[in-house]
Symmetry: C2
Subunit: 316 residues, 2 copies
């Protein structure tokens, strides 16, 4: 189980490697959302997302035993870059399995941080088989992008810093995909502020966490597509267990609301957030939470966007 000792240990362990990201506020957002919101800017984290916290903690925790064999994961997104850099900083090899359909820019990003990228067929089965084969060949340790206790503890450290900086909060909002950030945040926040409500935010188009949370049964597959690509992952066994116990609610937002929130933050706050981050902003801007005058924390999860693609989308 992940207790507070483990959370604080994670923070101590990763602190030399991570950025202590700034907490920003915006009078425009506060005026529109009718609450006081504190944005923890993990889009300004190394590798451009909170994933670096978990990856760093997972690698640091097992660095001695895997020094020669390294770590392996399958991801074409932020976890790939995060694990690549975390491994590099600990002088450990990293292998990343990506579908051969992944954008070249994503391959290059992971390779830029020193990882060996291995391409597989674009199916979940091929991903898993390729990882299993490489694990056997190399002896590398598999590091899941979210369903791993060290990863969850690492992701929780953003909330520790946020609360340390701004003090008491009534709510914290995070996006939810695999659930690592939501679970880690819920554990850390409810330890530090027992009355806080931690809320997961999910695209309506891929509402598996919402349905799992409300039915009590974990949905193991994601269907549908969302612009918040980082969230097209089902909850894991560990993350679901924590989310059921520590999360107050999960709310849904539409694709249009995600894009509107993303553009609003770019324009008003002068920071670049990716669609997954905007998922946790939209419920404030559309006021679906029906709260007023509260102190709200939002974890802005990442800022990795293909600018050309979003220039086209946002200008329409």
């Amino acid at each position: 189980m992940i207790d507070e000792k483990r959370l604080f240990h994670a923070h101590t362990q990763i602190r030399p490697f991570i950025h202590r990201t700034p907490v920003l506020t915006s009078a425009s957002v506060d005026h529109l959302a009718k609450n006081t919101t504190f944005f923890k800017c993990e889009n300004l984290q190394r590798t451009g997302s909170f994933k670096f916290r978990g990856a760093c903690n997972a690698v640091a925790g097992c660095a001695a035993q895997i020094r020669d064999h390294g770590v392996i994961t399958h991801s074409s997104g932020n976890h790939a870059q995060a694990l690549a850099l975390a491994a590099k900083l600990h002088d450990i090899p990293a292998f990343v399995v990506m579908p051969q359909t992944s954008a070249l820019v994503k391959r290059e990003a992971a390779e830029g941080y020193g990882a060996t990228v291995i391409l597989c067929r674009p199916t979940y089965t091929s991903r898993k088989e390729t990882v299993a084969r490489l694990q056997q060949e190399s002896g590398a340790m598999f590091i899941s992008s979210s369903d791993n206790e060290d990863i969850i503890a690492g992701q929780g450290t953003a909330a520790i810093e946020l609360i340390d900086e701004v003090g008491s909060l009534d709510l914290i909002l995070t996006p939810v995909g695999g659930g690592g950030l939501l679970a880690g945040t819920a554990l850390a926040a409810s330890h530090l502020l027992p009355h806080i409500k931690v809320i997961g935010c999910e695209p309506e188009q891929v509402d598996d966490a919402y349905r799992s949370f409300n039915s009590g049964t974990r949905i193991e597959e994601v269907h549908g597509h969302t612009i918040a690509e980082g969230l097209m992952t089902p909850l894991g066994v560990h993350t679901f267990d924590i989310i059921r116990k520590f999360v107050y609610d999960i709310v849904l937002v539409t694709e249009r609301e995600i894009l509107q929130a993303m553009r609003y933050i770019w324009e008003r706050m002068k920071i670049i957030i990716e669609p997954s981050s905007a998922v946790a902003v939209a419920p404030l801007l559309n006021r679906c939470l029906k709260i007023t005058g509260k102190r709200v924390g939002v974890i802005l999860s990442g800022g990795n966007v293909d600018l050309d693609r979003f220039f086209a989308i946002l200008s329409t």
Copy 2:
């Protein structure tokens, strides 16, 4: 004369109103520029630029005597918004004269902060006449966008915070237009770190500060056009005097280098900077300063861009 006492007084005076903006670093920039760079993010300042510091200081300094009559300026850019918000926070009327050709979005921005916008013909003469007439009618005090000691002292506070946070620096780079930021930075930095070199960065297309600095004679008019529109202003009498004494050098960058630097910072640092800010980044990325292994501060002056316009420009 602006001594250190006045600089620190400015900081004390504006601190309750401004954001203490974060200082960010980037491994990508450091790798490319071969120096360690600390970015003071005034793009994340209230109203989206450092101009709020000076405006706040100017308004606070004379709030009692102008309570009824208010302040007036001519600007279609960041100073207009900054003065409007500073006046609003001090409960003082603000009048902003803008050429009738100004984009509606700029008018609305100043009005959004509570200013009364008065349109004039798009000539410098009309601007000045309109301001003079309104001053006589209203009794409002004229606050220049840069050539005013309180403004200069206010702009210097960004460097005070930067040095307070990161300690010793070898250089600080700022963009230069009217010279308020450069002069204020040079005064503050050379007081705190006597051996520091403060360097002004200017678009090649509007090189009046460069030529004034090198010839010793202030050029009073700006010709040419640059994408860094905020810098199309000549140095003032006060700012030129300070810049001659306290600035180490002024360097020029091309339009292409400005756009490249702007895009690089958006992509790698996940923050939105306007072209004027990129002017102070370009000399590091193109390595025209020929320095290696130094500790460099950069004041990122602002983040106010028309996203649609830049989507079009940056995606070409």
